[in-house]
Structures are given as structure tokens and as C-alpha cells.
């Protein structure tokens, strides 16, 4: 096999205190199966941890999954910290149990896209593919 150069790199992270990472793992595997390199950081990460990891791993995008209900503080915090670290070019997507009325607020706070429960994996993969291509 010839070594392959250039890969889309995505960080999948779970901010907040809930311990459910099945969804995050399913997404991680789907992205891998689409040929991406997925850095999975595990449970209970602070926004600071996530941004630090994203910078060190030089990812194209971050997928945040949160089921605890704290997405309105945690997701925008990640975007804010990225900008502070001159890494506002890293795209942020959010997923989890997110009420419809929160979506516009999250988008205004810089979350590129919000995936609710039941979003087809195909759509999620497509988002990260465009993110990696610099769209």
C-alpha cells in the first residue's frame, strides 16, 4: 500500500458531565470509514481541553457532542477560545439533544451546524468532508 498524504482530521469531543458517548463513537467510526482521521478524546472534557487538543492535533473541524443540556454554554465557549488562540478557522459542529429553539442561537455564536438526534450519518460525513476541503 502506498502511503497516503493529506487527510481530513476531525476532533470528536464530549464536553460536559454526561457519560454517554455512544453517539460520539458512532460518528467517529463513520468519519473513519469515509477516510478521515478522527481524534477521539473521551468523556468530560472542558472547553479548554478541547481547544488545546484541537490546536495540537491541527484538525480541520471539531465535532462536539453534549447530552447534558449544557450545550448553550459549552459550545459557544469552544468557539470563543478557538478565536482567542488564532484558530478561528477550525470549524465547529454540535450534536446531541438540542432543542429546536437553541439552534439559531448556537449558529449565531459560531457553531457552523447543529445535528439533532436522528440526523443521517451521511449528512454528518458530508459536513466534515466540506469542512476539510476548506469550504
Amino acid at each position: 500500500m502506498i502511503p497516503i498524504a493529506k487527510k481530513i482530521r476531525v476532533l470528536i469531543a464530549k464536553p460536559g458531565l454526561d457519560g454517554h458517548d455512544r453517539g460520539a463513537k458512532v460518528v467517529a467510526r463513520a468519519l473513519r470509514d469515509a477516510g478521515m482521521e478522527v481524534i477521539y478524546t473521551g468523556l468530560r472534557q472542558t472547553p479548554e481541553d478541547i481547544v488545546e487538543a484541537a490546536i495540537q492535533e491541527d484538525v480541520d473541524a471539531i465535532g462536539l457532542s453534549c447530552l447534558s443540556g449544557a450545550h448553550m454554554t459549552l459550545f459557544p465557549e469552544v468557539v470563543k477560545l478557538l478565536k482567542k488562540r488564532k484558530s478561528g478557522d477550525i470549524l465547529v459542529a454540535g450534536g446531541g439533544i438540542i432543542p429546536e429553539e437553541d439552534v439559531p442561537k448556537l449558529k449565531k455564536a459560531g457553531i457552523k451546524v447543529v445535528f439533532g438526534p436522528g440526523t443521517p450519518l451521511r449528512d454528518i460525513v458530508a459536513f466534515f468532508e466540506t469542512a476539510g476541503k476548506g469550504a
Binding site: 502511503p3 470509514d33 469515509a34 478522527v38 487538543a53 495540537q56
Partner: protein, 328 residues
């Protein structure tokens, strides 16, 4: 196989010389961008490496190998904290396999290294093998160089822990750590062939599960000196943090031994030989794939061999020495 994607946006805006300046000033974002440039084999990578190289050679490089799930990441996590408490800056490059079917990878070593958080004296990079055989990625040791230039005092490299990784890591690292764990029941406690020759430090991890004495005794009985150094055997329980002081001490003792005996310099030369050869092979492969004069000669030679006008060995010599066909 997927088509190539363009360079990450951030990297495109920064010039290599700015990135290297920032790297030398201790900027982590610059370090990460430079590693990507090299890993993605961008045209600027050669220039970047040439600029970085003079600022390397200070970090002590420790390679970790051992079967999947034995506790390499957990041990590194503990060691990172130990070395931080000793006021040393620590880099980590952790390699996981690329799927040969999709070209993708899930890089999970960071899960076990979450304790370090945002410590400014720590830099962790996950890396996929991207088809490179041997439990390492092609760019692994160039990434180590970036972390060296970033000012890390010690850099840990975690291999995939399968296949031939043992051999390759042992030729690259200053200190090679082989991690094993006790087997339960009546399983014979023997080592994979070759594993006894490559370690400078052997770790019997998961000592909390019991049954570790047989393995420790077995190792101590079978191990022989490498470069005059009799490998240490250390018992650890990474999840409880047991044996980590002893392990860090063993790593430091080995580093001091390499310095005192001159074996560090010897290992550097051995590694340089390997790296020159590897790069020469890569350049050659690239040249023959090009529409260069050599590429055209290569195509013609291939036709000759296929038509049985020339044997492959003679063709290889002719490719390398077109004017002196008899040279070996």
C-alpha cells in the same frame, strides 16, 4: 482511495519561515501546523525540515512498544505528569493504525492521556500510520524533531504495537521501552521472538492483576546486555500510578548511561545512516515516477525487462549508474 484534499487553510496563510520562528519561540499552533505540513508531504515540508533541523538534538526520545491494550498510553500519561513534576517539558507522538480499506483512522490514545489538559509544558500529537508498515508513520520522527525544536526535554513515542514496530522503534529512539503484562492462568509466559533483544527497559504493567512474578522472573532470566546495558525490569500498575517513579528513574539512568559511555552518539550515527538511506529510496521512487530523464529511462528499462532483453538486477544497476553499467 479518496482524492487528495487541499492544505489546511491555516497553514496556507503562514509562511514556513514565520512558522519556524514561532515554533522556536515555543508556539504550539506553529508546531502543530509544521507537523501537518510534513505529515501531508506538502512542497514546503523540505524547507521546513531544513530550517528546524539545526535546532534539534536536545530532546531525549523514548519509544514505547508492546501488544495492543497492554497500557502504553496509560503509562505515558503517568510519566508525563511525573516528568512535569520534575520540571521537564514533555512531548508525545502516539501512532495508531490507518485502516487499509478506507484510509481512515480513529486515533484513541489521547483518551488515556487526558490528565495533562492544558499544561503549557506538554504537547501531544496523534498520528495515523497512513500505510507505512512497521507500527510507525513515515512522519513520526520528523514530528519528534518539531517537538524537540519546540523545546521539549523528553519525547515519548507510542507505536502501534503490532507487526515489526519493535525493530523500527529500537533503531530510532534513544531508549526503547517494551511493555508486557502478566497472562492469567496457565498461559506460557513467553515473549515474541526478537522482543528480548530490543528493549532498554522492560515494563510488566497491570501488576495489580497479580501473577506478574512469573513474567518478571522469566524476563530477568532471559534478558541480555545491549550496548553493555543490562535492561531494567520494572513492575507497574499504570491505572493506580504504581511503579511510575521507578520507571522514570530507570529511563533517566539509561539516558545517563548513553551519555557517559558515548553510546548516544553511536545511536545517533546508526539512525542517521538509516534516515539517509530511507530518504534516498524515497527520492528515487519519486524521480522514477516523474517525467524526468530518469523516469523515462526507468520506463524503457521496464520494457526491456518485460521483453526479456535485460534482467531486473542489471536494469537496477543501469538505472542508478547509466554510464557505468558494471558497477555494483
Amino acid at each position: 482511495m479518496r482524492e487528495a484534499v487541499p492544505a489546511r487553510k491555516g497553514a496556507a496563510h503562514d509562511s514556513v519561515s514565520d512558522l519556524v520562528d514561532d515554533l522556536l519561540a515555543g508556539n504550539k499552533r506553529a508546531a502543530a501546523k509544521l507537523i501537518s505540513l510534513i505529515e501531508d508531504d506538502e512542497p514546503e515540508a523540505t524547507d521546513a525540515l531544513a530550517r528546524i533541523f539545526p535546532h534539534t538534538g536536545r530532546a531525549h526520545v523514548v519509544g514505547f512498544t508492546g501488544p495492543p491494550g497492554v497500557g502504553k498510553s496509560s503509562l505515558i500519561n503517568r510519566l508525563v505528569r511525573k516528568y512535569r513534576s520534575r520540571d521537564r517539558k514533555v512531548g508525545v507522538v502516539a501512532v495508531d493504525p490507518t485502516s487499509p480499506y478506507t484510509g481512515g483512522a480513529v486515533l484513541g490514545d489521547r483518551i488515556r492521556m487526558a490528565d495533562t489538559g492544558v499544561d503549557p509544558g506538554v504537547f501531544i500529537r496523534s498520528m495515523a500510520t497512513r500505510g507505512h508498515a512497521g507500527g510507525l508513520a513515515l512522519a513520526t520522527f520528523d514530528a519528534v524533531r518539531v517537538l524537540d525544536a519546540l523545546g521539549m526535554d523528553i519525547v515519548f513515542v507510542e507505536t502501534v504495537g503490532a507487526g515489526q514496530s519493535e525493530v523500527e522503534i529500537a533503531t530510532r529512539a534513544h531508549t526503547t521501552v517494551v511493555v508486557e503484562m502478566p497472562m492469567t492462568g496457565d498461559a506460557v509466559q513467553t515473549m515474541k521472538a526478537g522482543i528480548l533483544e530490543i528493549g532498554d527497559v522492560y515494563v510488566v504493567n497491570k501488576a495489580d492483576l497479580g501473577n506478574e512474578d512469573v513474567l518478571v522472573a522469566n524476563l530477568k532470566f532471559q534478558l541480555t546486555a545491549r550496548d553493555g546495558w543490562i535492561p531494567s525490569v520494572i513492575r507497574t500498575a499504570a491505572t493506580e500510578g504504581r511503579g511510575i517513579d521507578e520507571l522514570a528513574d530507570a529511563l533517566d539512568r539509561h539516558a545517563a548511561y548513553l551519555d557517559q559511555t558515548g553510546f548516544r552518539a553511536k545511536r545517533e550515527v546508526a539512525r542517521a545512516r538509516l534516515e539517509i538511506l530511507e530518504n534516498a529510496q524515497r527520492l528515487l521512487s519519486r524521480r522514477v515516477a516523474n517525467r524526468s530523464r530518469m523516469g523515462r529511462a526507468f520506463d524503457a528499462l521496464a520494457e526491456d525487462v518485460a521483453a526479456r532483453r535485460l534482467d531486473p538486477h542489471a536494469a537496477a544497476r543501469k538505472l542508478l549508474w547509466p554510464t557505468r553499467p558494471r558497477e555494483k
